[in-house]
């Protein structure tokens, strides 16, 4: 009958039937070989380390685990769509900090498993750094285990700072000390413009401003979810950063995060860089010519005796409610994030200090790093780890980051035009205006508070 319309419809039907049979057969084969757990992560480096450890877990429990790497934005949108549509989701997901969006809506609707009781029963909230749970909980309900601590230090060009300029960084205790020392570092070119800067900062605020604010205990939100980035301390920090970037004695420069950063670092355009533990690995990878020329130092404090570190970035591991085997998923979470059966080797390989406090004393973290002139860098980070500030999660975190950075951009523009005249008052007002805009978005929300 179909041939009455020519051969084309017949062949289309043939292709459709063949494709259907193919899909069915492939699906059955997939079902037969389906792993017991699927873990999805945005970090390929993490996946590589997990794959080397998983055989032990699989042997121990007689199961099969599959690890999938998905780009960060794709992971977020896919997971959000899957939660909304009720389609299959992986059993475990490693999520970056700005994915706090998943914590929106009534607690009962959140797509991740409530692991609060399990965490408390295993005393993980004590065994792991408590401040690191701040990113993965809402209203006291914990949804993920923290992977890391990410203390921040300064990585600097020791070959120039110490060998060439003879500066003793151990004498730098506060940011005021740093600014005074930085004036010896800044070098001017023939055109009268600085040709060498002391400190890396971002023109648009961003992560580095956030690190400075967190060091002073100013997060975007407090534990109750209130917007907090418009305090006087925040205004003071923003004003300080703008002066370092735009002032007559500017010491800071923005190199961005692409290839220009590595070029600028290797050329000695900027000498001090914010370096959470994970960034030391990136620096080694992208600036190989600086092997043996770099060193780490603690952040200068804002006041004498104050906090010498901050934090930048976070990853958490959450089990999904749609997962098929939540108990097994929790076992895997514990195996990957809490157990240190490999003596901390995987953490050392990732160059990431784990959130488990007992692990910080493992001997593997004393290994000297020749790139950083033999400094035992993870030991240095571990000494600061206990002082890492909390950074509270909110579903509105991206909005708040955006608004805080808008305030920073406005402050920079104001300073460039008017200098110190009314500057601090302007910064204060602008931060308040932007914080109020976030508050308005939160206030509009009729669901979260139900």
């Amino acid at each position: 009958m179909l041939l009455n319309y020519g051969k084309a419809p017949f062949f289309i039907l043939l292709v459709a039937v063949a494709t259907g049979i193919g899909v069915l057969a492939t699906h059955r084969r997939y079902e037969a070989a389906r792993p017991d757990l699927v873990l999805m992560t945005h970090a390929k480096l993490h996946a590589d380390v997990y794959l080397s450890r998983l055989p032990e877990f699989e042997r121990r429990y007689g199961v099969k685990v599959d690890v999938q790497v998905v780009e960060e934005v794709a992971l977020r949108t896919r997971l959000l769509a899957a939660f909304a549509a009720g389609t299959p989701v992986p059993d475990l997901v490693e999520i970056p900090q700005d994915a706090a969006l998943f914590l929106r809506g009534p607690i009962r609707d959140i797509g991740f498993l409530d692991i609060t009781r399990w965490v408390r029963a295993k005393r993980l909230d004590e065994r792991m750094l408590p401040a690191r749970f701040s990113m993965w909980q809402r209203k006291g309900v914990i949804f993920a285990l923290p992977h890391d601590v990410h203390p921040v230090m300064l990585a600097y060009r020791a070959d120039i700072v110490e060998d060439e300029l003879g500066i003793d960084v151990s004498k730098i205790a506060t940011w005021d000390d740093f600014a005074a020392m930085a004036r010896r570092i800044v070098r001017y070119g023939d055109d009268g413009r600085p040709a060498r800067y002391a400190l890396e900062l971002q023109d648009d605020g961003g992560y580095l401003l956030q690190a400075l604010l967190l060091q002073r205990g100013v997060g975007l939100f407090d534990a109750a979810g209130n917007v907090t980035f418009d305090s006087d301390v925040a205004a003071d920090t923003v004003a300080w950063a703008v002066r370092q970037l735009r002032g007559p004695h500017r010491i800071a420069y923005s190199l961005g995060f692409g290839p220009t950063l590595w070029e600028g670092m290797q050329d000695g355009l900027v000498l001090f860089y914010f370096a959470p533990d994970w960034r030391t690995r990136t620096i080694e990878e992208y600036a190989p010519s600086l092997a043996g020329k770099m060193k780490l130092m603690a952040l200068p404090a804002w006041t004498p005796g104050g906090r010498r570190t901050s934090t930048w970035g976070a990853t958490g591991l959450a089990a999904t409610r749609g997962g098929r085997n939540p108990e097994l998923a929790k076992k895997l979470m514990e195996f990957l994030y809490v157990d240190q059966t490999d003596g901390g080797r995987s953490s050392a390989e990732l160059r990431i200090l784990p959130a488990v406090r007992a692990a910080w004393s493992l001997p593997v973290f004393d290994t000297p790093d020749p790139y950083f002139r033999g400094q035992p860098i993870l030991r240095l980070y571990s000494r600061l780890a206990g002082d890492v500030p909390p950074d509270y999660a909110s579903p509105f975190i991206t909005k708040a980051q955006n608004k805080r950075d808008s305030a920073f951009a406005a402050a920079s523009a104001y300073y460039s035009l008017h200098g110190e005249d009314g500057f601090v008052d302007f910064v204060r007002a602008e931060l308040r205006r932007q914080a109020d805009a976030v508050r308005a978005v939160i206030a509009r929300n009729q669901i979260t508070e139900q």
Partner: protein
């Protein structure tokens, strides 16, 4: 003679195929349209009147989403940025594409073909690739553009195209021009090759110079294509998202300093995937559709294409 034999036209003959066969053929298309277009379309209308949070929670807000959008300064910024991009981008795009087409149309041989390929080639790679590429080209100190400017005029090495509210928009417009000028050139080239050569020859014989030939012969002949390019460029500008998003990823904010790279679709994406309110995002989608429809109708009216 039977009645049927008297009126052979009215004789009921048996069709070689059953009557349901055509319905069978259109069924896959109809099914796909219903599932992937009609249902989401209807659902998006419904959703625009709800506030949502998470997969299951939603609350009826009536016109609340629309009221919020229209009162939100960020949305006004997004509309302003989109309008500026659309007007300036299209104003640059059309003459550039047409100019390239005119140059290539006057040339012959392999060189013309090679240039055609070169100008068109950015379209092969898409907005994300070009966004990442230009983030490097526009980088301060080490970017190709700044190095070129420094070598040419002795300044500009530190220019922060993507971190300065004043330069973000020009950077995006120029990147978009680089990406799509060659693509639109192909439309103009095809139109130019269809201009009646007899008319051109007749005009020349009547003493018309190159400008008058272009103004009174070529331009009217390619007018339908020019209107088409104007329309798709404008609609494309209003739907801009991937290019600035990829371009600005090298900085901290995907929407630029002080939202200088925030466009309407970026605002929509932010509502859906940052704030997590799909109802608000749907409402933005409808407002955007209305804006595009209005602008397109105005363009059709002004260009006289509606009367054609």
């Amino acid at each position: 003679m039977t009645p049927a034999e008297e009126h052979p036209v009215h004789r009921r003959h048996r069709s070689p195929t059953p009557r349901w066969a055509p319905y069978l053929f259109v069924a896959p298309y109809v099914a796909l349209t219903l599932v992937f277009f009609a249902y989401p379309f209807a659902h998006a209308i419904e959703l625009a009147f709800y506030q949502t949070a998470g997969p299951n929670a939603r609350v009826w807000v009536g016109l609340g989403n629309f009221r919020y959008i229209l009162s939100d300064p960020d949305f006004r910024t997004a509309v302003r940025n989109t309008a500026v991009f659309s007007v300036a981008g299209t104003a640059l795009m059309l003459p550039t594409s047409l100019g390239l087409a005119l140059i290539l149309n006057s040339g012959r041989g392999r060189a013309a073909g090679l240039f055609r390929l070169c100008f068109f080639s950015p379209s092969f790679v898409g907005q994300i690739f070009v966004g990442i590429l230009f983030a490097v080209v526009l980088a301060p100190d080490y970017g190709l553009l700044n190095r070129f400017l420094q070598a040419l005029v002795g300044r500009g090495l530190e220019t922060r195209w993507l971190e300065n509210t004043a330069t973000v928009m020009p950077a995006i417009i120029l990147t978009n021009l680089w990406l799509y000028a060659g693509f639109n050139m192909v439309y103009f080239l095809a139109a130019l090759q269809n201009v009646n050569p007899d008319l051109v020859d007749a005009a020349r014989m009547d003493g018309a110079g190159p400008w008058r030939v272009f103004r009174h012969v070529t331009l009217p002949a390619i007018r339908p294509v020019a209107i088409f390019v104007l329309l798709i460029s404008t609609i494309g500008s209003f739907q801009l998202f991937e290019l600035p998003y990829a371009l600005m990823r090298s900085t901290t904010s995907p929407y630029g300093p002080d939202n200088s790279a925030l466009f309407i679709v970026g605002y929509l994406y932010d509502a859906a995937f940052s704030i997590g309110d799909l109802g608000l995002a749907s409402a933005v989608g409808w407002v955007l559709a209305l804006i595009i429809l209005t602008v397109s109708l105005i363009q059709l009216k002004l260009t006289g294409a509606a009367n054609d």
